[in-house]
């Protein structure tokens, strides 16, 4: 065989002389590789995000909402017949053996004023156990206690966003804020949680004792929802049964009557979410497979279209003394150079697209090394095969047959 460096030079010369063909071949590989990496990246990115959100949702969580109800023949919308009270929460806490934590959730909203700033946010009244249900961690200070709840204490724990907006770099602990003209003392700041599934900032929140928000701020007696967590993942079903029994008794619902509350648990939420993300990944995978095939067909077409020209070229080279291996090596090198260059450009392009998606849109992409390797290998294999195959066939011909090829 001739020197490899000479054959490599011949390959480069040929690539440069046939710029259009080279470009189109590489383009097929570039598109194939980048489409697959980005698609699968989006799929696994959103899967990861959903998994993270589910875990940030809390442990073995059960949520009780007031329900659309029919009482005395009058139908009322969800929440309008808000009958869940602090007593219901207490009853669950006392009686349900499979429930580890339970907390009332009292929703309110309003301007928070302090340190010369004001910020409109959501204020939620909860019980100390809420911290464990939703797995909130404290970054400074502390969460309020049962005593604070019993005594309707005017204390508050701030989410990171609220703390930043009102106090900036200043330490909020011990400072005062006013919520709807009621002064609250800040006793803690929460650790950052980031966005939730709908892109809402989970740190844009103020927590205060449930009783304080319910009686002092809202002057109401009904809570918006009850959050609880089961002792274990397996006991979610039982805990849910217990809660329903207790609430039916408390609300004096006769057998056969509709409940005036709805219970959802995390297993159902998790299942729904992972089903959604599974379908999404499947769809994206299908799109990716299609782009890979389309890219592959593109490569194949370019290669096959140029077979006649290439076969004649091979005939000319053989007629002046090229050996079979010379031809094969040159064409193999050419296919490898084109495929590898195309593959690398495709990978860089997909990283660029991922960067743009992650920074400028709500789409999250997570690029794994496996898919990079897979798509690169697949496209390169197509490129090399279709570059090499015609050469292999032509090199086996008599020069005169290669020259006559049509």
């Amino acid at each position: 065989m001739l020197q490899l460096s000479n054959l490599l030079k011949a390959s480069f010369t040929s690539i440069m002389k046939n710029r259009m063909r080279s470009l189109l071949t590489s383009l097929g590989i570039i598109i194939g590789v980048s489409a697959v990496i980005v698609m699968v990246g989006i799929g696994s990115g959103s899967q990861k995000r959903i998994a993270k959100e589910i875990s940030s949702l809390g442990n073995n969580m059960i949520i009780v909402f007031p329900a659309f109800s029919m009482r005395g023949g009058v139908s009322r919308g969800a929440g309008s017949f808000n009958r869940m009270t602090m007593e219901d929460v207490e009853a669950i806490r006392e009686e349900a053996t499979q429930v580890q934590y339970v907390s009332a959730v009292v929703m309110s909203a309003g301007q928070v004023v302090g340190n010369g700033n004001n910020w409109s946010t959501s204020v939620q009244g909860v019980d100390p156990e809420y911290q464990h249900i939703r797995v909130w961690e404290i970054s400074s200070g502390e969460f309020f206690s049962d005593r604070d709840v019993r005594t309707l204490k005017k204390v508050a724990v701030l989410g990171k966003t609220v703390a930043d907006k009102i106090f900036g770099s200043m330490d909020p602990i011990g400072q005062k804020i006013r919520i709807r003209n009621t002064p609250f003392k800040i006793i803690g700041v929460l650790k950052e949680k980031g966005q939730d599934a709908r892109g809402q900032d989970q740190d844009d929140i103020v927590y205060a004792p449930s009783t304080t928000v319910l009686y002092r701020l809202k002057g109401d007696r009904y809570v918006n929802s009850i959050n609880a967590s089961a002792v274990t993942l397996e006991s979610i079903g039982k805990a849910q049964e217990e809660i329903m029994t207790i609430l039916r008794r408390e609300h004096k619902i006769e057998p056969g009557q509709n409940d005036d509350f709805n219970v959802a648990n995390q297993t159902a939420i998790t299942e729904m979410a992972s089903e959604t993300s599974r379908i999404m990944t499947m769809l994206l995978g299908a799109v990716a497979a299609v782009s890979l095939v389309v890219g592959g067909i593109g490569i194949m077409n370019i290669m096959l279209v140029s077979v006649t020209e290439r076969t004649r070229e091979i005939g000319i080279r053989m007629s002046v003394g090229a050996r079979g291996q010379d031809i094969l090596t040159q064409f193999l090198l050419e296919a490898v150079v084109l495929s590898v260059t195309g593959g690398i450009i495709g990978i860089l392009l997909s990283f660029g697209i991922a960067l743009i998606l992650n920074n400028w849109t709500t789409v999250n992409t997570s690029i794994g090394s496996g898919i990079v390797a897979l798509s690169f290998t697949f496209s390169a294999a197509i490129g090399i095969f279709f570059g090499f195959y015609p050469a292999r066939r032509a090199a086996a011909l008599n020069p005169i047959d290669a020259l006559r090829y049509e």
């Binding site: 001739l2 000479n6 011949a10 002389k17 046939n18 020209e309 004649r312 070229e313 005939g315 000319i316 080279r317 053989m318 007629s319 002046v320 003394g321 090229a322 050996r323 079979g324 010379d326 008599n398 020069p399 005169i400 047959d401 020259l403």
Partner: protein
């Protein structure tokens, strides 16, 4: 005798579906070193087929072919390639130049595949070969910027560049005007004087008279094989043409 080319009962049969085309039906031919042979005959008589076999571009269906007393059919594919590279210069009827490749690069191509590296400076050798066919001012032109005659001359330069001992040319003047044809024949005669064995295919009597021996073919047979007492000198004809101008 010093025969460079000897064929013995060479046949070539093309199979096209059910039909068999007998392009050569047993050719016995012997060519001595330094001969200048013109192969003539009607279209389809098997001239190109014979040239391709002699040029080691194709293999016969049956019969033996000895090149420098070596039985070519016993050689490997690589040895075949090396013969095409070193011993034989082939000028195709349709030129067969690499497209998008300059005249100089086309002429250099055989040297690229020369493993022995006999010729130390390929660029220089290619330039000299092009000068020899009078194309020194067209070296950087690609084939589609050249006329048929110029492409023909590039093809001849490519056949010469590796200093072959045999030059084969299939209708080398088929695309040329009469003046250029004589110029090309003059180049061939000059090469022949330097000792290169030359075989050309032509159907023009005007051209065949520059050869030293004429072979006539019909239907895959050699019909007639006769030496020419005194070949016409292309150089003299050229001078006469110049005077006429």
């Amino acid at each position: 005798m010093n025969a460079v080319i000897t064929t013995s009962r060479i046949t070539k049969t093309y199979q096209i579906g059910e039909i068999q085309v007998h392009a050569l039906r047993g050719i016995d031919l012997s060519v001595q070193s330094g001969e200048f042979l013109a192969i003539m005959g009607a279209s389809g008589s098997g001239k190109s087929t014979l040239m391709n076999l002699i040029g080691c571009l194709d293999v016969p269906t049956s019969g033996r072919y000895y090149l420098d007393n070596i039985d070519v059919s016993s050689l490997t594919k690589n040895e075949y390639a090396d013969i095409r590279n070193k011993k034989i210069g082939f000028v195709f009827q349709g030129f067969n130049l690499l497209s998008r490749t300059t005249a100089l690069e086309n002429v250099e191509l055989p040297l690229f595949y020369d493993r022995s590296r006999r010729i130390k400076n390929p660029k220089q050798a290619a330039r000299e070969a092009l000068e020899r066919v009078g194309l020194s001012d067209r070296m950087d032109h690609v084939p589609n910027q050249l006329s048929g005659g110029q492409q023909q001359r590039v093809a001849i330069a490519r056949a010469l560049v590796n200093q072959p001992s045999i030059l084969l040319a299939d209708e080398p003047t088929g695309n040329l005007d009469s003046r250029t044809s004589v110029e090309v024949m003059s180049v061939f005669q000059e090469l022949n004087e330097q000792g290169i064995t030359i075989l050309i295919v032509t159907h023009e009597d005007d051209i065949s008279r520059y050869a030293k021996r004429i072979i006539k073919m019909r239907d895959g047979h050699i019909l007639d094989d006769s030496p020419i007492k005194k070949a016409t000198s292309a150089r003299q004809i050229l001078e006469i043409m110049k005077e006429e101008d």
